[in-house]
């Protein structure tokens, strides 16, 4: 990783000097990681591709703002997370919420909740319930939850990535977890605290 960061610094210096080769190296090196993040946040291949493009465009515009004390990959990651967040917000405003908060998913939407001997059936049910839980989250909650739960970012880092106060990022994660538990608990027999 250290070697990667050193070579990022070389490529970055070239890019900042206006050399396309430097930026090309950075794009080619980090595209796949950004795509994985974008896909996890948007859940959609086409959207993830758009987020990758937008993230590199924003990064290019802000190269002069990059503080070399931070790792370039982390900086880029935060920009991509912010782009995905923008997209989620735009989508959220446009689309109707299929599962408004406070409503319970219809029984027909899930397989039977009785303990199933077949683990595959259980796994499919859990997966379906996770999808429902995610669809009940606001864009901010979903972005914060994905970054915390899947990407392992700290709440402070999430706040930076999404341009939120740390307290707002924390509350978003907590609300998202409540929604996950509300939907998943019946299937998993979770003990109420």
């Amino acid at each position: 990783m250290q070697r990667m960061e050193e070579s990022d610094a070389d490529a970055l210096a070239l890019a900042r000097a206006g050399d396309s080769e430097g930026f090309r190296v950075l794009v080619e090196r980090h595209s796949r990681a950004l795509f994985r993040l974008a896909y996890r946040m948007t859940g959609n291949e086409h959207d993830a591709e758009d987020v990758v493009q937008e993230a590199f465009l924003r990064a290019y515009r802000r190269l002069h703002q990059y503080d070399q004390r931070a790792r370039f990959s982390s900086w880029l990651y935060r920009i991509a997370a912010n782009c995905a967040f923008d997209l989620l917000r735009a989508r959220r405003r446009r689309d109707e919420d299929p599962w408004p908060e406070g409503t319970e998913a219809a029984p027909a939407d899930f397989p039977a909740t009785d303990p199933a001997p077949d683990r595959l059936v259980m796994s499919a049910e859990v997966k379906q319930r996770v999808t429902v839980a995610m669809s009940r989250m606001s864009a901010q909650e979903k972005a914060a939850f994905v970054l915390r739960h899947f990407e392992g970012m700290s709440i402070a880092e999430i706040g930076q990535a999404l341009d939120l106060e740390a307290s707002a990022a924390k509350q978003s994660v907590l609300r998202a977890v409540r929604k996950v538990r509300q939907v998943l608990a019946p299937a998993l027999g979770e003990v109420a605290p």
């Binding site: 396309s20 090309r24 794009v27 080619e28 590199f56 735009a90 996770v130 739960h149 979770e190």
Partner: protein, 258 residues
């Protein structure tokens, strides 16, 4: 949760503890060691959260980065055609494009609407699919031109007074076409496109009616407004959808709606 180990932690405290974000983890650990109910609640929470796994993203090949770069350099080049704040290499990549002016776009739009909504029996002239293709090209170019203006403003260095006279002229030019496209989108049942054009219009109005030179504070404020509403991103999304429609329209006789 305070550091008091005698208090039961709330569900939120346990979530934060699980993620390593508890304010007083030591006090909470002491409590958990002596409270079976809270330990069971934590175990249960962990079981639930461990069931939430990320869907594995589709694999991207080793050449993915090169493909991203290929698409990206065209867009960087496009952004560099406006104000000279982009490096020479980016400007040099600019494709030679014929942009429609606002007036021409408007006349195309009117021709399209007249042809589509007031068909004259036996009238000769441009066929429906061809008219639609022309319109798609015009709208696509309009959105790309708008992106250039937005990028110029977003890319501006807020430290210095900024001469935006070129962007202002572009915004004035784009504004009339934008209004017509928005009306067309409403009329043809494209509320998503109409909404994005409406948001774009607000920015264009602000730039077109604003001063030719912005101070650092004004530049920052404008940039924040553009970024907070995600206008550029939405314009890009709609633009890419329209490019997709262009491709479909060029490929076959399938009806393409705007």
């Amino acid at each position: 949760m305070t550091g008091d180990a005698t208090l039961h932690p709330s569900p939120d405290d346990l979530v934060l503890y699980h993620y390593g974000e508890a304010d007083h983890p030591a006090g909470l650990e002491t409590h958990l060691a002596g409270c079976a109910a809270c330990q069971a609640a934590l175990d249960s929470l962990r079981a639930t959260l461990s069931a939430v796994r990320a869907e594995e993203p589709p694999e991207r090949g080793a050449d993915y980065g090169a493909r991203v770069w290929e698409r990206l350099q065209t867009r960087l080049a496009l952004s560099g055609t406006g104000g000279g704040r982009w490096p020479g290499w980016a400007r040099g990549l600019a494709p030679r494009r014929l942009f429609f002016t606002g007036a021409l776009a408007a006349s195309l739009l009117l021709a399209f609407l007249l042809g589509r909504h007031s068909p004259r029996p036996g009238a000769e002239g441009t066929s429906g699919p061809v008219r639609e293709r022309i319109l798609l090209v015009a709208v696509g170019d309009h959105l790309e031109r708008s992106q250039v203006v937005l990028l110029e403003l977003l890319n501006a260095d807020p430290k210095d007074p900024l001469d935006v006279s070129a962007e202002r002229r572009s915004a004035e030019d784009l504004l009339s076409a934008n209004r017509l496209y928005r009306l067309a989108a409403v009329r043809t049942g494209e509320p998503g496109v109409a909404r994005v054009l409406e948001e774009l219009e607000r920015v264009l109005v602000e730039v077109a009616n604003g001063p030719s030179e912005l101070g650092p504070e004004e530049t920052l404020a404008l940039r924040r407004r553009i970024e907070s509403q995600g206008v550029l991103f939405k314009v890009r999304v709609i633009g890419s959808q329209i490019r997709e429609r262009q491709r479909e329209a060029a490929q076959g006789p399938r009806k393409v709606e705007l």
